[in-house]
Symmetry: none
Subunit: 403 residues, 2 copies
C-alpha cells in the first residue's frame, strides 16, 4: 500500500468497523491427486453462507513464489509491502518472546555455541542444548555482566537460541555479526559498520569479553554468536497511517509483537478461541479495527496432520456467527501464508481470502476454498497488502482521489 496516497483520503470521523481474522497457514494442498485441500475438506457452513455475500480471491504475501515467514506475511496483511518494510532479525526475536522492546534498544539474536581452547568454533549450536539450559546461562550472564551506562537483557528463545537487548542512549545497530558462519573459525568482533554505531559496537564487544570469562567453564555452551543487530523501525504507524484505532487479539507472542510493531494495541493473551471472541465482543466499541489471530491451523499444517487442521478450520467456522452478530462493516477471513500438510512447512501457494463487506460487489460463490477463490472478484495472486486499502474503501473510510 502507498501510505502517502491513502493518508489524505482518510475520513477520520467514520465509525465503521473492520475485522481481519487470520487463520495462520490456512492455504493448503490436496494430499493426493484429485483430492481436496484442508479448507475444501472442512465443513464450513458459516463461511460458505458468508461467501455468497462476499468477494473471494487468492493473495500472495510477498511475491509470487516467495514463501513468507510469519513476520513479513502479517506485515503484508496489515498493508505494509514486506519488501519495503524489512524488520531486523534481532527485533523479530524480541517480538517473538513478548519482550517489551523500547525505541532506542539494540536487539540481537544469539546462538550458544561450543569453542575449543583456541576459541575456534567446534559446534555452532552447542549440541542444541535444551531451552532450560539456555535460560540458566542467560540468567548467569545477566547477573554477572556489568557495563556502565547501559542495561543488558538476555532471554532464552528456544534451545540454543536466545535474545540479547542493550538499552542505553545514543546506540545505533549497524554492527557486523559475530557469527563467521563456519566451524573451525573464531567468532568475529562486533565491528561498527558506520560511525554512529561505534558506541554500541564497543558495548557489545565489552559484553562479549565479560561473557567469555563467565562461560569459560560451561559445557557444551561455552560461547555464543550474535546476529541480526537491529532497532525498532521508524515506519508509518497503522493507526495514524490508516486512521484506524486498532487492537490485536492473539494467543502467541510473535503475532502480538508484529501487531505492536506497527502500533496496534495488543490485548492480553487469550487462552482459547472462546476467549479471543469474548475479547472482540468486550472491546467492540473501543476500536475501529481488530486483528484476530488463530495459530493452530499452522501448527497442524507443520505437523502434517490433515485431519486436525481440518478440524481446527471447522472450529473457527463455528465462531463466525458471533463475529457477524457484532455487525462489522468489513470482515476479512484469510491466512498469512499456506502451510500445506503435504509439505509440513510454510509454502508460497496463494492464500484463500473471503472478503465480506456490506458494500462489496458479491461474487455469489457459495463455498470458501482454494478452487472457489480462483473464481472470485478479488482476483488471483494479488498482493496481500492490497487488502487494507480495499477494507478502508468498503468501510466508507476513504474520500475520492482528485476531482
Amino acid at each position: 500500500m502507498d501510505f502517502d496516497v491513502i493518508k489524505p483520503l482518510i475520513i477520520e470521523s467514520s465509525q465503521e468497523k473492520i475485522v481481519l481474522l487470520v487463520m495462520d497457514g490456512l492455504g493448503g494442498l490436496p494430499m493426493e491427486p484429485g483430492g481436496k485441500t484442508e479448507l475444501e475438506a472442512a465443513a464450513t457452513p458459516n463461511m460458505d453462507a458468508l461467501a455468497e455475500k462476499s468477494m473471494l480471491g487468492l493473495h500472495e504475501g510477498i511475491r509470487s513464489g516467495i514463501t513468507p515467514g510469519s513476520g513479513p506475511a502479517h506485515l503484508s496483511l496489515f498493508g505494509y509491502d514486506p519488501l519495503k518494510y524489512v524488520v531486523g532479525r534481532g527485533v523479530l526475536s524480541a517480538l517473538g518472546i513478548d519482550f517489551d522492546l523500547h525505541a532506542k534498544d539494540i536487539a540481537a539474536r544469539g546462538n550458544f555455541c561450543t569453542v575449543d581452547k583456541e576459541g575456534r568454533i567446534t559446534d555452532r549450536r552447542a549440541g542444541r542444548i535444551p531451552t532450560e539450559v539456555s535460560e540458566r546461562l542467560c540468567n548467569l550472564l545477566r547477573d554477572n555482566v556489568s557495563i556502565p551506562g547501559v542495561e543488558v537483557f538476555l532471554k532464552p528463545v528456544k534451545e540454543y537460541r536466545f535474545m540479547l537487548v542493550i538499552r542505553g542512549e545514543g546506540l545505533r545497530a549497524n554492527i557486523q555479526e559475530t557469527d563467521p558462519q563456519d566451524v573451525g573459525k573464531k567468532p568475529l568482533p562486533a565491528r561498527a559498520l558506520d560511525p554512529d554505531s561505534e558506541k554500541a559496537a564497543e558495548i557489545v564487544q565489552e559484553f562479549v569479553r565479560q561473557a567469555e570469562k563467565i562461560l569459560a567453564n560451561e559445557s557444551p555452551a561455552n560461547m555464543f554468536l550474535l546476529r541480526g543487530f537491529a532497532q525498532l523501525p521508524n515506519w508509518p504507524k497503522f493507526p495514524e497511517a490508516l486512521g484506524l484505532k486498532a487492537a490485536a487479539i492473539a494467543m502467541y507472542p510473535m503475532y502480538r509483537g508484529v501487531a505492536k510493531l506497527v502500533g496496534m494495541d495488543s490485548l492480553p493473551a487469550a487462552q482459547s478461541y472462546d476467549e479471543e471472541i469474548a475479547m472482540l465482543e468486550e472491546n467492540w466499541n473501543s476500536y475501529d479495527f481488530f486483528f484476530v489471530h488463530i495459530k493452530k491451523t499452522d501448527s497442524y499444517g507443520e505437523d502434517g496432520d490433515f485431519d486436525k487442521k481440518v478440524h481446527e478450520i471447522e472450529a473457527v467456522d463455528a465462531l463466525i456467527p458471533r463475529i457477524l452478530a457484532l455487525d462489522p462493516s468489513v470482515l476479512i477471513i484469510t491466512g498469512d501464508h499456506s502451510t500445506p500438510c503435504l509439505m509440513k512447512k510454510h509454502s508460497w501457494h496463494p492464500v484463500p481470502v473471503l472478503f465480506y463487506a456490506k458494500l462489496c460487489r458479491p461474487d455469489g460463490i457459495t463455498s470458501f476454498g482454494e478452487r472457489a477463490c480462483r473464481q472470485g472478484g478479488l482476483g488471483m495472486r494479488f498482493p496481500a497488502y492490497q487488502l487494507m486499502p480495499l477494507a478502508l474503501a468498503h468501510a466508507g473510510r476513504l474520500e475520492k482521489f482528485g476531482a
Copy 2:
C-alpha cells in the same frame, strides 16, 4: 503505461482505428442481495453479441480501494498512471469550465467568502451565493482590476466557486494557498514557495489588494480565498507518445478538458448521442483514435436512479451498430469508474471492460456485465492505464520489443 517502452515500438504508418467509448460511472452494484447491477439489468443485445467476439475484464482507475475523481480516472484510461501524472486543482477548475488555458498561465480555484471588519473570515463560502451572483462579482473584478504586464481572467464555476487565471511571462505556480481553512482567521498572503514563483506571488498579492477594495461594500461575498495554484503540466502528449492522431467527442467541458490536457483535439460540444456518433462518422478519416464520452450514466448513478441509468446504458447499446459499421480495429467499451445507484456517488469498485478487436483472443462470453467480466481474459482489477498499450497492440500499431 511506460511511455518510454511504447515510443520506440510505434508503427507510425498504421491506418488502424481505435475507439474508446466511455460510459461515465458505468460500474454498479445490485440494489438488493442477489440482485443485478445496472449493466447486468440493462438489455444490451448489441454489446452482448460483441462480447462473444471480445475480451472482457474489470479495471481499476487508480489503485485498489481508491475511488477515482473524473480527472484521474480519464487520465488512466488514456494510459497515464494518475499517481504519476497529477494535475493541479486550479488547472482542473479551468478545464472543467472549458477555459482555454495557455501553457504559461497560472490557474487557481477561488472561493468567495465573508470577512468581518477586521478582515477575519466569518463564512468560508459566503452563504453559498448563487452562481449568478458569483458571475456578477467575477465581472466586477475583471473590469476593475488592473495589473501592468498581465491579463487576469475570472470565471464563475458553481455557487461561491470561481476560477482565476493570470496570463503573463515568467510566472511559476508554487504559491501558498490563501485559505487558512478556518473561520475566525484572516486570509493568508499568497507567498511564493520557491524563488521562481516570486513574480507570480507578487502579482497575486496585488490582485488581492485591489480586489479587497472593489468587494468591500459587497455582501455577503466581500472577500475570497485562493487555492490550488497550478500550471498546465509538461507531460508526454497522447498523440506523440502513442502515435495516434486523437479526437475527443464529449458533451461536458470537464472531459473535453482532460482530453485537451493530454493533447487530443476536442471536437465541438455535441448535444446528443446522435450528434456524438455523427461527429465520429464525419471525422472517421481524419483521426486514428476517438474518445467518445457519455455523461448521463454517471449522473443517474449519482441520483440513485437505477432505472434511468439502465435506460441510458440501453440507449448507448443502440449506438453500437453505427460504431461497428465504421469498422474500427479496436473498440473499447468501459467506464472511467463505478457510480453505483446504491451509493449515489463515485466508488472504488472495479469497472467492466469490453475490449473488441479483430485480432483479440475472444473469451466467448455472451454477455457484458460485472459478473461476466470476472471471467474474462483481461483479468480482474487490472490498472486502467494498461488498456492503451493493449489497444495499440491489437490495432497492429506496435513493433516487437527486442530481436
